[in-house]
Point group: C2
Chain length 350, copies 2
């Protein structure tokens, strides 16, 4: 089968250059006589690539060295646990903007007190709930800045004294954003940043000063930062694939990529808005530039549209099982041409 255009929400499409380089490294890493799967994690081959990846993360996020870069395993769900374990003393605030935001809070409830600061749950998460005021005394405030399932995205970062923490799994490095407004940012790699099996966290040192409770190193941001992600054998191949993505992003040029992502989303939303049979799910003011969720007025045609797309080598556009409809994830690796292909399919669908 020829190459499919993969609009899946994650594991998501990766650039062909990245896949080719990763494949070469699986056979032999940099002419070392060893596969990337075989190199020792305490040797210079790995430490060099880790150093480069750490530096590129800070450079591209435009953060200074007050932030520590950590590579972990366990996905978003382990982060959901680690946040309260590491930082929840009295109370933490959660912005209830979607399924994953609610899951993050549910995990925190196992370890301490939380409060919903704002919610759009009763409107089926169609928009990012506006945050009016954040009490100072909170240990942290948790945001999911992009809600993959509902196709909404935080447009403006609220003012707050409490440390802001953001799950940016499905949008990191996809748009111009003042990352320094957050004290901790985390993201699974399998959307904009590589392959499933590695999670990036960038943590301001102010959060690493004290530990709320005794923790095993593997669940402690402090220990992970102190040991440069080497508390145990790291997911070497996953970190390497993320490094390839970081290099690719840098080569593309941040601003060019951000503009491209904006343009991609605009074209796709236009084609949906202009089509008599399709409609967008999210409120226009909260629309995500990464996950475009849309539906057919006549749901009985859903299967026909999926088949219609697959005939044009388009895959991954089925909506999340909890909401149905369609979702096109247009992460960094999705080119304007890929989006045009989907736009054409939407226009051509009767």
């Amino acid at each position: 089968m020829s190459k499919l255009i993969n609009f899946g929400a994650g594991p998501a499409a990766l650039p062909e250059e990245v896949l080719n380089e990763a494949a070469i490294a699986v056979k032999d890493y940099k002419g070392s006589g060893l596969s990337i799967l075989e190199i020792p994690h305490r040797g210079h081959l790995f430490l060099d690539l880790l150093t480069e990846a750490n530096a590129l993360v800070l450079e591209l996020l435009q953060l200074n060295e007050e932030y520590k870069v950590i590579w972990m395993q366990g996905g978003g769900r382990l982060q959901f646990c680690m946040l309260p374990l590491n930082f929840l003393k009295s109370i933490a605030g959660y912005i209830d903007s979607g399924h994953w935001a609610a899951e993050a809070m549910a995990q925190a409830n196992l370890y301490g007190n939380t409060k919903i600061i704002a919610s759009s749950k009763d409107k089926n998460y169609k928009f990012i709930p506006p945050v009016t005021a954040i009490p100072e005394a909170y240990d942290y405030i948790h945001f999911t800045t992009n809600n993959t399932i509902f196709g909404t995205q935080l447009q403006e970062i609220p003012q707050a004294t409490a440390p802001l923490i953001a799950d940016m799994s499905s949008e990191i490095l996809s748009r111009a954003f003042d990352y320094s407004k957050f004290k901790l940012i985390y993201a699974v790699a399998q959307k904009n940043l590589g392959a499933a099996g590695v999670t990036l966290a960038v943590v301001h040192q102010s959060l690493l000063a004290t530990e709320v409770r005794p923790l095993p190193d593997i669940l402690s941001y402090q220990a992970m930062a102190r040991q440069n992600s080497l508390v145990n054998t790291p997911p070497v191949f996953g970190i390497y694939t993320s490094l390839l993505m970081l290099r690719w992003i840098k080569t593309k040029g941040l601003n060019k990529l951000f503009d491209q992502n904006k343009e991609k989303a605009k074209l796709l939303y236009q084609s949906i808005d202009n089509h008599p049979k399709f409609y967008g799910v999210a409120d226009p003011g909260s629309r995500s530039s990464m996950n475009v969720c849309f539906r057919l007025e006549a749901e009985e045609d859903n299967k026909r549209f999926l088949d219609f797309c697959l005939n044009r080598n388009i895959t991954g556009i089925k909506g999340h099982r909890s909401v149905g409809g369609f979702r096109a994830s247009i992460y960094n690796a999705i080119s304007p041409e890929d989006v045009n292909h989907l736009v054409q399919a939407i226009q051509d669908f009767e």
Copy 2:
């Protein structure tokens, strides 16, 4: 550089066939038009490979369907935490047979009471401490069946009523073993079973019946088993690489592979025992067939021997930083020819 013979303790050598197939899949998985890094984890492409991997694990370990196969992230260290979190009610027993065994117990001490059942710490872990009697009332007894750093290996499984749990990270599927004596077996993949970033656990259903405390799904064996390892996005590439290793082991033939491993270890220990300048570290009765730890009488020659070996394309034989000397890890992927190469180097070293 030509292909190195990698005696590293992990990430360890993988068979060339496995590396080649993994590299192909990174570009295109089974002609699907998607990379193995891009396939959706709830689609048939992934579910089919997961089903095959689960079945092969049970078949090769010769375990029945009372055991559940779980694929996780976080390495041995996350298992060290999950064991007490999931199973420790009143007290757990630990066999203190080496560095990782002690680490496992240290993590358990964060969550409850433990007791050392046997220890060889005061003899620098030169042997597997004999276990004479195990009290019935223990929640579980933890073994590290192969001690990578000290080159020792459990020879006989003690009788016990309490559930036995084994860290088999550096020996799983390397020798004939009655795996059914254990109620839970876990192993990181990067030694005998694939690449870093995935951990296998095989759990008897009797351990999954109750939960000792409320746990987030990502830290619960019960939830992981119930959801067939899909509590969240699994490390797809890591599981696939393990599947390739499982297939490779099956094709080689279990018994043939086990005999080969025994023979490899025998040859290597003989060359060390017969050499006037080298000596083995572990007591002969506890010697590991996977990690052969040895030293030079004249430690000032260490560097010269490492260089001597590297000149013959031999790498990864430096001992663990905590003990020094040399360590040759001769996991499944290390062929008899590879071992002969090292034997020859030892013999030729002046």
